[in-house]
Symmetry: C2
Subunit: 224 residues, 2 copies
């Protein structure tokens, strides 16, 4: 053969793949999953429609990978926040707050990843995504239970319910639409976090303290 992939080419291919994924992510963040269509994404990524298929076997694969990528980022953020907390209860509060804040600052994307109708089948990757996040939350609940801060319970179910509560109340169709009032956004995060902590059995007074601690640390609500 008189052609072999050179390091430079490999890098360019990887870059292009990233560009396509990034274009998809941009599209989703701007207009939800509905906006993730092959032709527009290709244009955003400066390639032709057919090229997308050299990197992703199908639209379903593209979106699945998008979901996986966003989930990875989210999971990392949750872990970072929780690990930085002083104790199991604070860690749980921090984890919940992180999810709430992220979801609120990227509502369209979150809605797209979580629940928006898509014309291709992405149930598998959505399932995996939820499993990861719910698993992490469940682990944090479990730690708090083991520390004696919470009553024994079905932590997996609790984690799932908790995420459902967050999502529905913050990005669901009934979510109050305070897109730009940063104060109200903060209120919503606090309220929902409080609700979530009480649900798993944190005493009300203590829960309030944890929520304030978790929300305060200068976290900005806009810009991820």
């Amino acid at each position: 053969m008189v052609y072999r992939r050179t390091h430079q080419v490999v890098k360019r291919l990887a870059a292009r793949r990233s560009a396509i994924l990034a274009a998809a992510r941009d599209a989703a963040a701007a207009g939800g999953m509905a906006a993730v269509q092959i032709a527009p994404v290709a244009i955003r990524a400066n390639v032709a429609a057919g090229t997308v298929y050299r990197y992703f076997p199908s639209k379903a694969d593209l979106i699945s990978e998008l979901i996986a990528e966003v989930s990875r980022d989210e999971l990392a953020a949750i872990r970072r926040a929780a690990d930085a907390a002083p104790g199991p209860s604070s860690a749980l509060a921090a984890a919940v707050t992180t999810v709430a804040v992220h979801v609120l600052s990227q509502r369209k994307l979150a809605w797209g990843i979580l629940a928006e109708p898509v014309d291709v089948d992405v149930t598998a990757s959505r399932l995996a995504s939820r499993r990861e996040i719910a698993g992490e939350i469940a682990a944090r609940i479990d730690a708090a239970v083991r520390a004696g801060h919470l009553p024994a319970q079905d932590t997996a179910l609790a984690a799932t319910a908790l995420l459902g509560a967050l999502h529905e109340s913050l990005v669901g169709p009934l979510a109050p639409d305070n897109t730009d009032d940063s104060g109200k956004l903060r209120d919503a995060v606090q309220t929902v976090t409080l609700l979530a902590l009480r649900a798993v059995g944190v005493m009300d007074a203590r829960a309030r303290g944890l929520v304030v601690q978790a929300v305060l640390p200068g976290r900005t609500l806009v810009g991820a």
Copy 2:
């Protein structure tokens, strides 16, 4: 004119309309919203595809009305259960339990109504449906707050979060799949109801009592 609609014809038309809706409901209960396609629904209802369009301007209208119908039924059931309870807290517990039980006994239908991707736009009716149910739950929370059983709170947000928790944990993709183990179903209902009540501030011990009361009354989980 030499033709005027006779009472008999009016009745037949109404019956046909109902038959189409019922066929749609059957299809949704059996295979989710994906199974609600014009041709199959028409066959189930013993009419031709074109006939469906004499009763519903579009598929979106058909599904919207299906959603509205199911919601009406659900709302009525919630009210009945709550009104039969001895006090505001019990009423809230009964309302939550009712939702949980119904959702579990008709999982595919519930998923279709609530969240399943549909190729036509039914956001408006889904929104209305949620508003109705959430409004009812909010009212019940409010009553309990006024009775001094719960701390003051944003009841609308709480109701939304609460429904999100129920839905996600009982019909969401992470929901445990105990389709036929009636004992486990009951456990799930209890656990989630407990979680929901604690979330709005019911004290743990009291919550357990309320849940047992609300779940016990010989409610069967299968067959709506």
